[in-house]
Amino acid sequence: MAFIDVQKVNKIYHSGDVEVHALKDASFQVEKGEICVIVGQSGAGKTTLLNILGGMDTATSGKIFLDGVEVSAFRKKQLAAYRRNDIGFVFQFYNLIPNLTALENVELASQLCKDPLDPEEVLSEVGLKERRNNFPAQLSGGEQQRVAIARALAKNPKLLLCDEPTGALDYQTGKAILKLLQDASRGSGMTVLIITHNSALTAMADRVIRVKSGTIADQRLNEKIVPVEQIEW
């Protein structure tokens, strides 16, 4: 069984009288240590998929296995523990705690899990050693995203989920962020899922999943992996 095994997952949103079928029989697999890029049009259901995978939301039907454990069968409390110990999240809008400094934001996460990395180290890895005592408001978007990544990495999660990590960043900064993610995966064999609109980024992935209006349109392994630095878009 693959590290991540998503089987026929459906997600239906009920907003008022309208039913939105956000995911339709979505199935795919990802192997441990892979960098997987999910692409698709806006509204295709990428975020929905990621949320379900990350235990932030539950599937209407279907099964999800992570490292052989059926995540879709988890109750709320188990989901919280799952998020706490197994998942790292990087958001499009960073979502740092504004009242904590960069270092504190990282420490906040690392304090939660069983086997954390050293926050200061992680922070210097993302190149923010000097800024560790700054509050988020005192950091630029890229720096904030790096703090967010550091926060996710510090937890030393089994799976790192990133929802458009570069969406709010400029090209160079975006690249640096992606590099950080690739390095993290390569360095520690962490499985990383990245959502992006940018098809160019598929080049850096081990595996590319294409989502189209709630269904998995295509799932393929990338034969020719290009390091981030060399990707241009």
């Binding site: 523990a81 706490r84 110990n85 979502n95 705690i97 939660l112 408001a137």
Partner: protein, 1108 residues
């Protein structure tokens, strides 16, 4: 635009109902508190006014030194401005209740036109021997029973009642007694416990004691206007009514003068009559005297005659005696003569008989002799015849004898023949001698006999002669005897006549003596009568003079016009209901300040939330004012609803709760709620100011930004280092989330202020609430544990004797720890605002200090000297006196001499004062009679057992166990709980509102943060704590600020609450601090729990999508 605009507002309200409700609730609370407190006094005032009007409480009460009669009452009624006037009487009496406890009741006559009674149960009396009783003291079970005028009452008191007992027909309230104060009396314990209303006919009275006047005054009671009107009319009323009573005075003077003149006249004529009578009596007496003298003379004469007669009689008697003696001698001589004669005759007869016999004997003897002689002859012949034979025999014999032949028969025969012959021969010779002797005797006898006969015949003749003589003597004697007897009879008759005469004389003498006595009595009587007359006349003169003096001294009648201010219930009412007004001054300001803060923070948040929307609307061309209007309508409408609801609830709940608390003093009717439109308008205005005003201020700032700026997401508030971080050793130890909370706490100053103020306010209120409870319930403990240390007060109808004390000592020596004998009486303490009833303790017993703690601030107060008094703190406050000042007390209507205050002691319930026996006798002018014993008992003693023993003792009139009193007082205090509950309720509402509001704001503001934490794997508890640690910290800060506030608030409130019965001891128990803190924390936790559910519902996926 209009419709879309309205829809937008509605949708906004619906979406943020929590916020809307926060504004609504805080405004409702503020307005409720404000309007409730503000309207409480008017409501109570109105209730009082309505009651006083409905029951037609008198306007004036007239008291005359002369009383009033029917005509005078009519005349007063006819005065202008008088609507009704009615005479009334009253009398205090002792009544023994079912438990045998002595009570003093006040009986008043039922008035028809004023002071209407309200019947609480049963009906009004219909008969003169029926009554209604005080609903405040009696329960319905008394209906149908009898109120007996106890035999303990003075005769005078009993005489004032037409009946000995009155059947209770119902329970009633009287407007004369608005509160529970029933006044004092000079009888019994001095404290009146209840009133009894009896029909006028149930009293026996000569004049009305007072007249209740209902003046036609349109002003409402308790108002200054009323007082002014009353005062304005009082003088003329006094003059007019005095004039009315004066008529009777003049009439009475005229009557009295006439009576005196008549009396003088009567006296004079009476004296003359009496003197005449005495003179007559004297003449009569003198007459009697003369008669007596005559009688005495007569008596003397009679006595003389009697003596003479007596002498005569005595002589006759003597003669008689002598005669009798002679006669008796003669008779006895005669009898002796006769006896002699008879003896001579008998001797003669004897002699004759003897002679005859001797003659017969002689004849016999003669015959015998002749016979003998014959026989001798014969014998001699015969012998001679035998002589031969003899001579032969003799010879034969002699022969034989000689022969010695004697032993043969011949010899014997011969011998016998010889002997017989010889014997016969001797015999014949002897017989011949004898016969010759007899012949001689016979011859002498014959001579003798012949002489005897001769003598005898001579004696016979002599005897016959003697008898003849004797017989003639006998006749003479008999005649003498008859003569003597006649004389004796005569004498006897004389004697009896004399006795009669003597008796007669004795009678006469007695008569004389009697009349002498009579006369002497008559004289004494006469003298006495004379003396009596003199004194009588003197007395009558003096009486007349007294009457003249009295008439001269007669005071002109005075009529006192008293108004309602002398009625304790009425006079206390206004002051008592004004308490809430003072409290109403500070609370609302505080509540409105919090309301303004709540509105401001809420609306600021609201605007922040809708920032992009505002920007968009602005970009679309909506004007600033249009957008501002939306928010102003939003908060304004919440405020209007809140104000309405708050006003309605506040003006109803507050007066009701406060009235219930007042019920222990004034329970005369249900509260009448007052609606004051101006008050509502004012509340509304302030509410709008708090809501719309703050909305305007906080939104204007936001809206002043350019639309473009608004559209962009607001930069998250910058993280800032706080002061705490500089204290690194603490800061380091904090967890990150604690740090966040610490930073958050200080991030929004307005919210912090709102929270701290709100929670502090809540804390202060809760503390005040608990504190009120502590201060009051503690009074009871303090009062009965530390001040009145005694456990039983036993009052007897007479001074306590040594014997009784001895008996108690023997019975309960173990149980009683302290004991004091004293006199306990009630006196009035008049002061500017009215009259208070004071329990006066009078004692010489030093141990009273063991039973009652005379202390102030822990220092013992010294024993007062003569002329000095110890009073309690409450009384000192009322009088406004300090040590060294003078006060005047009153018993009944009599004022005491001024007494120097020597000390002030702590006391919380009722009023107490202490003087020595000497002071009492000198300054109160009444005898010291210690009838009461205070007893402090050991802890394990059975109070009731001791009490029941004491009440079985002789003369026991009232045994009270302090434990009962404690229960009674604390029961009364319980009505304060309504106010406490209301305060705590408001505090809770306040806490909930600010906590919810802050919670809501924080959650809505930090929804992303919370979602992020959740995504990071925070458990719900942890995520909740992130938000609530902050409100907890703020709550604790609020509590810290609230404690001093609470102390101040409590002090302020307590100073306003001056209940008549108790004066609170301002204190909050440590336990109450704890409870207050716990309660406020409980509110926080409660809101926390509710808010946590909201946090749990936050959807991570959605919240993180993007920044709106």
């Amino acid at each position: 635009m209009k419709r879309a605009f309205r829809k937008n507002i509605f949708r906004t309200i619906k979406k943020s109902l929590g916020r809307y409700m926060a504004i609504f609730a805080i405004i409702a609370l503020g307005v409720g508190f404000f309007s409730g407190l503000k309207s409480s006094k008017p409501a109570m005032m109105k209730t009082g006014q309505e009651y006083v009007r409905e029951q037609n409480l008198y306007d004036y009460r007239l008291i005359s030194t002369w009383g009033f009669d029917e005509d005078e009452v009519e005349a007063i009624k006819a005065l202008s401005g008088v609507q009704a006037a009615e005479g009334a009487v009253s009398e205090d009496f002792i009544y023994i209740n079912e438990e045998g406890v002595e009570n003093c009741l006040k009986a008043l006559s039922i008035t028809e036109d004023v002071n209407f009674l309200t019947v609480e149960a049963g009906r009004l009396p219909e008969e003169a021997n029926e009554c209604v009783v005080d609903a405040a003291l009696f329960s319905e079970s008394i209906i149908g029973q009898e109120i007996v005028i106890a035999s303990q009452n003075a005769q005078e008191t009993r005489d004032s009642f037409a009946y000995e007992s009155y059947t209770v027909t119902g329970l009633a309230r009287s407007p004369l007694y608005l509160n529970m104060e029933r006044g004092t009396t000079t009888i019994g314990s001095g404290r009146i416990t209840a009133f009894v209303f009896i029909p006028l006919e149930g009293f026996s009275y000569e004049y009305y004691e007072e007249v209740y006047v209902d003046a036609d005054i349109t002003e409402e009671a308790f108002t200054d206007a009323y007082e002014e009107m009353i005062e304005a009319r009082a003088d003329s009323l006094e003059e007019e009514s005095t004039a009315i009573v004066e008529v009777r005075y003049q009439q009475e003077i005229a009557d009295a003068q006439e009576e005196i003149a008549q009396g003088q006249e009567d006296l004079d004529s009476e004296e003359a009559d009496a003197r005449q009578e005495l003179a007559d009596a004297k003449a009569e007496l003198e007459d009697g005297q003369q008669q007596l003298a005559d009688g005495q003379q007569e008596l003397a004469d009679g006595e003389q005659t009697l003596a003479e007669k007596k002498q005569e009689l005595e002589n006759g008697e003597q003669e008689l005696l002598e005669g009798e003696e002679a006669l008796t001698q003669a008779e006895s001589d005669f009898a002796a003569g006769e006896a002699e004669l008879e003896a001579a005759e008998a001797a003669f007869a004897q002699e004759e008989a003897n002679l005859t016999q001797a003659e017969a004997q002689y004849q016999q003897g003669l015959a015998d002799y002749e016979a003998g002689l014959l026989r001798y002859q014969t014998g001699k012949d015969q012998l001679e015849a035998n002589r031969e034979g003899y001579k032969q025999a003799k010879a034969a014999m002699e022969q034989m004898e000689e022969a010695g032949n004697t032993d043969n028969s011949d010899y014997t025969t011969a011998k016998t023949v010889v002997e017989t012959f010889e014997a016969n021969e001797a015999e014949l010779a002897a017989a011949k001698t004898q016969l010759d002797g007899t012949k001689a005797v016979l011859d002498s006898s014959f001579a003798q006999l012949t002489e005897g006969r001769q003598q005898l015949e001579a004696s016979r003749t002599l005897l016959a002669q003697s008898r003849q003589e004797l017989e003639s003597n006998r006749a003479v004697l008999a005649e003498n005897r008859a003569q003597l007897n006649a004389s004796r009879a005569q004498i006897e008759e004389g004697k009896s006549q004399l006795a009669d005469a003597e008796a007669e004389l004795a009678d006469a003498r007695q008569e004389i003596a009697d009349s002498e006595q009579e006369l002497s009595d008559g004289w004494t009587e006469y003298e006495d009568g004379l003396a009596e007359l003199d004194t009588k006349i003197a007395d009558a003169r003096e009486e007349l003079n007294n009457a003249r003096q009295e008439l001269a001294d007669l005071e002109t009648p005075e009529v006192y016009v008293l108004d309602r201010s002398t009625n304790v219930g009425y006079a206390s009412y206004e002051g008592d209901v004004s308490i809430v007004e003072a409290v109403a001054k500070i609370f609302p300001a505080f509540f409105f300040l919090i309301a303004a803060l709540v509105c401001s923070t809420t609306m600021t948040r609201m605007v922040d939330d809708e920032r992009t929307q505002i920007g968009t609307l602005r970009a679309l061309g909506y004007t600033k004012s249009a957008i501002l209007t939306k928010y102003m309508i939003y908060s304004g409408s919440a405020a209007v609803f809140g104000a309405c609801v708050g006003y309605v609830l506040g003006t109803r709940l507050f007066p009701l709760a406060i009235w219930t608390a007042y019920g222990m003093l004034y329970g005369f009717s249900d509260i009448i709620l007052v609606d004051d439109f101006l008050l509502f308008l004012f509340s509304l205005l302030v509410s709008l100011l708090c809501s719309v005003g703050t909305t305007f201020l906080s939104c204007r700032m936001e809206l002043s930004h350019a639309p473009a700026q608004l559209i962009r997401p607001k930069a998250p508030a910058a993280g800032k280092r706080i002061l705490l971080e500089r204290i690194t050793f603490i800061w380091k130890r904090l967890k990150f989330l604690h740090k966040v909370s610490a930073r958050n706490v200080f991030r929004y100053k307005k919210r912090m202020f709102m929270m701290i103020l709100g929670i502090a306010g809540c804390m202060a209120l809760v503390m005040a609430g608990f504190g009120i409870n502590d201060s009051i319930s503690n009074i009871v403990n303090d009062q009965y544990d530390n001040i009145l240390v005694y456990d039983i007060s036993a009052t007897y109808s007479q001074a306590v004797t040594e014997d009784a004390l001895q008996e108690i000592e023997e019975q309960f020596g173990q149980e009683i720890t302290h004991q004091a004998v004293l006199m306990e009486t009630s006196v009035d303490a008049p002061y500017d605002g009215g009259v208070k009833t004071v329990t006066l303790m009078v004692s010489e017993d030093e141990s009273i200090r063991e039973c009652v703690n005379f202390q102030l601030n822990g220092e013992t107060v010294d024993v007062p000297e003569t002329g000095e008094i110890l009073i309690d703190k409450r009384l000192a406050e009322i009088y406004g006196v300090e040590i060294g000042d003078e006060i005047v007390l009153r018993t009944g209507e009599v004022e005491t001499e001024p007494l120097t205050v020597a000390g002030i002691f702590e006391n919380y319930t009722y009023y107490y004062a202490y003087v020595t026996a000497e002071t009492y006798e000198q300054y109160f002018g009444e005898p010291f009679e210690p009838r009461t014993i205070y007893m402090a008992l050991s802890e394990d003693a059975d109070h009731y057992q001791v009490a029941s023993y004491l009440s079985d003792m002789d003369n026991a009139s009232n045994i009270s166990v302090i434990e009962d009193m404690r229960v009674r007082v604390s029961n009364t205090m319980e009505s304060m709980n309504y106010i406490v509950a209301l305060i705590i309720l408001c505090a809770a509402a306040l806490a909930f509102i600010v906590l919810f509001n802050l919670g809501n704001i924080n959650i809505s503001e930090r929804i992303r943060e919370i979602a992020t934490l959740k995504v990071l794997g925070f458990y719900p508890r942890e995520a909740g704590a992130y938000v609530f640690r902050e409100s907890m910290v703020l709550s604790i800060m609020g509590i810290v600020v609230g404690i001093p506030l609470g102390i101040l608030l409590h002090r302020f409130v307590m100073l306003q609450i001056k209940i008549d019965m108790v004066s609170p001891d301002i204190k909050i128990l440590p336990l109450s601090y704890l409870y207050s803190v716990l309660l406020v924390l409980a509110f926080t936790v409660c809101v926390d729990l509710i808010m946590r559910r909201k946090i749990n519902r936050i959807n991570m996926a959605e919240s993180l999508k993007s920044i709106e």
